[in-house]
């Protein structure tokens, strides 16, 4: 089949257009944090629309502001089952984490800080009386350090001091990758009202 120069340019244009729209479906927000020559942490965030049982749908609900995880007023208020986890939001937020060349023990901690005293997402009343913001880690790649990754494949709510250690290294020289999913779950529609905000802080520190 013959393809002339004009057709080639049209195909090229369509390819770029497709790539551009694909970018809109999954918005990535990388944040690279480097600690001396020994440790490097790469964070890339994206958002996925989910169905009623939490499976990702191939479509994003809204562009993320760089550094944001949740936004908007899109609570799911239709399905409430006291016996199982209920996704209170139309999407989950996912951050891909990559750690390379670590030769000192360190820990990666996630914590939540309220923006002000009046609104704080994890203090919202939930159906099962646990915190609203849940996380779980998914192992996507490993060099034998899966023991360092905490809360693999199961949802976990934040502890009372509003922080979770999600990765703890003993000083192995590694290159490890995993994902962290964030979901707002089990909100009680009778008590949810007003505006709620806060920040998630990724803290990387060497151990003592």
């Amino acid at each position: 089949m013959k393809i002339n120069i004009k057709n080639k340019l049209i195909i090229l244009f369509l390819s770029f257009s497709g790539f551009l729209f694909a970018e809109k479906d999954e918005i990535t927000i990388p944040a690279k944090v480097t600690v001396d020559p020994y440790v490097q942490l790469l964070l890339t965030s994206s958002a996925f629309e989910i169905d009623i049982v939490g499976n990702p749908i191939d479509k994003a609900v809204k562009e993320l502001t760089p550094g944001s995880l949740f936004f908007g007023s899109m609570f799911k208020a239709k399905k409430h089952e006291l016996t199982k986890s209920h996704y209170s939001y139309n999407y989950i937020s996912k951050t891909d984490v990559k750690i390379i060349n670590n030769s000192k023990p360190f820990q990666l901690i996630l914590s939540i800080v309220p923006t002000d005293k009046t609104g704080f997402i994890i203090d919202l009343e939930t159906l099962d009386k646990t915190k609203a913001l849940h996380i779980k880690t998914l192992q996507s790649d490993s060099t034998g350090c899966s023991n360092n990754i905490h809360y693999l494949n199961s949802w976990k709510d934040f502890s009372n001091n509003r922080e979770i250690v999600i990765y703890s290294s003993n000083g192995e020289i590694i290159s490890d990758s995993f994902s962290v999913l964030f979901s707002i779950m089990n909100l009680d529609p009778q008590t949810v009202a007003g505006t709620f905000s806060g920040r998630i802080i990724w803290t990387l520190t060497t151990k003592l």
Binding site: P30, T34, T65, S73, V165, I200, T203, T205, T206
Partner: protein
């Protein structure tokens, strides 16, 4: 067409925002005399090509949770063994253009009189908050990254390290789990103790079948810790000796020997 492709490429690039934070110091562990002044620099680097970086530097307290074996951060100056109030940072906010760096100076002034032999704090280098204010949205959760630089000041003249391995146990592998090595250590001194353990597995003839390191354990003064490690090497079903070596301050090496029967073989 060429111009259109360039525009498309620019749109694609501009749809991804990149934050980059790099610091060249991860820990400030110093020994000092009463009244000493310790000075140093932490270089903050923005290695990205196009995005300026705003970094706040603040000081908090920290404690070590021996049970969970992890660091916990506390508000500035609230802990009894905090050195947060001794530390001056300059500047406390840096704005770094792309492909640039800026030095942050710290000065730690040790008081003339002290109660403890060891003091702690943490310097946080935090990227700017992208969520500045609550909008009309009902839920708004932002994300930030920060690096913690642990500050530990030890006063050797006051330090009296001491400790003891109180128990050491080997649980041979079974169908459900690999071999476990469990040690209990008590810190009898007045500084934080780090315990390093290694082991060798030999048979009655002295043949070496395996060796490895146990998980490091940290214990606060007066506290007892129990640390469990696993070893997933293969062993034939017979009797072995496991010789463990533990190291802690003041340059103590403690040897423990355990005889065990391995009945499970993969």
């Amino acid at each position: 067409m060429k111009i259109m492709l360039h525009v498309l490429l620019l749109l694609i690039i501009s749809s991804v925002a990149v934050y980059s934070l790099e610091i060249d110091t991860t820990r400030i562990h110093r020994e000092a005399e009463l009244g000493d002044v310790i000075e140093g620099i932490v270089n903050v680097v923005n290695s990205e090509n196009s995005v300026s970086l705003s970094v706040d530097i603040n000081i908090e307290d920290m404690v070590y949770d021996s049970t969970e074996q992890k660091v916990e951060f506390k508000p500035f100056g609230t802990m009894d063994n905090s050195c947060a109030r001794w530390i001056k940072i300059n500047p406390s906010v840096v704005k770094i253009p792309p492909k640039s760096s800026q030095a942050v100076t710290y000065i730690i002034t040790v008081p003339q009189e002290l109660k403890h032999a060891q003091y702690f704090a943490v310097l946080f280098f935090t990227t700017g908050n992208s969520i500045k204010e609550v909008t009309s949205e009902s839920v708004l959760i932002g994300s930030q990254t920060r690096m913690g630089v642990i500050v530990k000041v030890t006063i050797p003249a006051l330090a009296k390290p001491a400790g003891k391995i109180e128990a050491f146990q080997v649980i041979p592998a079974n169908e459900e789990s690999p071999m476990k090595l469990i040690y209990a250590f008590i810190n009898k001194g007045n500084i934080l103790q780090k315990v390093f353990g290694s082991f060798s597995i030999i048979d009655k003839e002295g043949n070496l079948f395996g060796r490895g390191n146990m998980k490091r354990g940290l214990a606060n003064p007066g506290e007892k810790i129990t640390i469990e490690s696993i070893w997933d090497g293969d062993l034939e079903a017979k009797t072995y000796d496991l010789i463990a070596e533990f190291k802690y301050e003041p340059k103590i090496i403690e040897i423990k020997e355990v005889n065990f029967e391995n009945q499970y073989q993969e």
